[in-house]
Amino acid sequence: MNFSYLTDPAHWDPSNPGSIPNLILSHLGYTALALLIGAVIALPVGLYIGHTGKGSFIAINAGNAGRSLPTLGLLMLMVTLLGLGLLPVLIALTVLVIPPILTSAYAGMRNLDHRVVDAARGMGMRPWQVLTRVELPMALPIMLSGFRNAALQVVATATVAAAVGLGGLGRLLIDGLAVNDYSRVLAGAIVVAALAVLVDLFLALIQRLIVSPGLKGS
């Protein structure tokens, strides 16, 4: 076991389709797509449940169900049903990100200071204005922490794409194991871990930029 695969410049050459930069790009592609689709589905549902209090059991159980579902197993099931391709991978990864996004959107709305929301209504904001100008900005810190959680999980798990013939950093793990090239496996593990840290830092930066300074430390 050594770092030779990681440090070999040939493996960093972007013109080579199997090189690490290209694998990172496709890995990030799966990650971003899964997060996007997951957010489009889970955010409205979580916000609605948190806002109305209707169907709270869904939000609470989603968290537990999500944690216990094996992504690889789900992926294999999807491949059996749908055949190979991007779709089964996206479904499996989306199912992974939905619970943390949904649960945190729910929690963000549930934890709002009702006196502030009441004041907003009392000043003459309409329901849509209360939601967009008061509730969402106040719920943002909790919602974003759930999103960061989801992003971390999906960056680590998107390696499964390689198990069904797609790209991403899982290639280094799968191919490395197949040919007993442990230096390549190690490179894959290191790059995935580094990417997870970078993605989290990036999202932390976004959080700094879009969360009001007035909500810091609360």
């Binding site: 502030v116 009392g122 000043m123 003459g124 904001m125 900005p137 007035g214 609360s218």
Partner: protein
């Protein structure tokens, strides 16, 4: 004028919060709703701006039934201040104050400029404008809450226990500023408190509610102290109501005796006395001076500060007795 016409509010679940309330809150005056916790004060207040709709009866503002008006539109024309200020934590102080003008279509710039002036009015310097609510003390937050409610210059203000979350020293300060502000602005104010002293101090009129949401008495503070309608009001007003009622009586008519035995300086001003009173003070001030001064006398001074009369224990007692007959 805000009129309650036989208003009843029964919450789902059966609690009668307000029971056949009829009341008139005069324009340009402070009317305080006071009573023990759970007697329906907040509910009554919130029916004015339609945060709660009555089960039966009507609430009219200048003759117009509030339930016939668009709720959001109605609320933008009514200032609303609540106990913990309810400031938006994600907005700066300035943007909090600018909220309603922006809702009414002012540009953010115009609204902010106006908001800056309002901060000054409620006793906050421009340094506070860029801060966030979490960076303010309780009293400061409450001032911002008042400024925010005043921002669109609404003719009516609803205030739900606006001063009860701050310590007594700050509260007294806020009371004084509030009364000064109201003197300038002359808003129609409905205020809720559970503190009878606050009600008597601030109210032009006081509505005492009893548990179950029924009106026990509607009167001026002075009438309330002098003639409580029943035992409930009497006990709620407190045992020292006689003394407190003196704060509504002027000392102008109080007879004085010639100044004698008091050390005076060259200008005729008393030397070394803790307190003196003028014709503008209340009988309560005089009573307090008589009780607390070492010699048992209070010294009256003229506009120039020169002593022009003395009042002793006996003089005061005789005067109070003579008023009774």
């Amino acid at each position: 004028m805000i009129t309650f016409e036989d208003v009843v509010k029964v919450y789902p679940g059966g609690a009668t919060a307000v029971d056949h309330l009829s009341l008139e809150l005069p324009t340009g005056k402070i009317t305080v709703l006071v009573g023990p916790s759970g007697c329906g004060k907040t509910t009554s207040l919130r029916m004015i701006n339609r945060m709660v709709d009555p089960t039966s009866g009507r609430i009219l503002i200048d003759g117009r039934d509030v339930t016939q008006q668009d709720a959001a539109q109605l609320r933008r024309g009514i200032g609303y201040v609540i106990q913990h200020a309810g400031l938006f934590p994600h907005r700066t102080v300035l943007d909090n104050v600018a909220t309603v003008p922006v809702l009414l279509g002012k540009t953010r710039r115009e609204a902010r400029t106006a908001a800056l002036g309002l901060l000054e009015r409620v006793g906050l310097t421009a340094d506070f404008a860029k801060r966030y609510p979490a960076q303010l003390g309780g009293g400061q937050q409450q001032r911002v809450g008042v400024a925010r409610a005043l921002a669109a210059d609404p003719p009516i203000m609803l205030m739900d226990e606006p001063f009860s979350a701050v310590d007594p020293v700050v509260r007294a300060q806020l009371h004084a500023e509030f009364l000064r502000l109201q003197q300038d602005l002359g808003k129609t104010i409905a205020m809720v408190t559970h503190d009878i002293d606050e009600a008597i101090k601030l109210g032009d009129h006081v509505a005492v509610l009893r548990t179950g949401g029924r009106l026990a008495q509607f009167a001026t503070p002075r009438e309330l102290l002098a003639a409580p309608a029943d035992d409930f009001v009497a006990s709620f007003v407190g045992r020292d109501r006689g003394l407190r009622s003196l704060s509504f009586d002027s000392a102008a008519e109080l007879p004085v005796r010639p100044v004698d035995g008091i050390e005076l300086d060259d200008a005729g001003r008393p030397v070394g006395l803790p307190g003196v009173f003028t014709k503008d003070d209340s009988l309560r001030v005089v009573t307090d001076l008589v009780i607390s001064s070492p010699g048992g006398v209070a010294v009256r001074v003229g506009p120039d500060g020169a002593a022009d009369g003395l009042v002793s224990h006996h003089d005061l007692a005789d005067y109070l007795a003579s008023r009774r007959s």
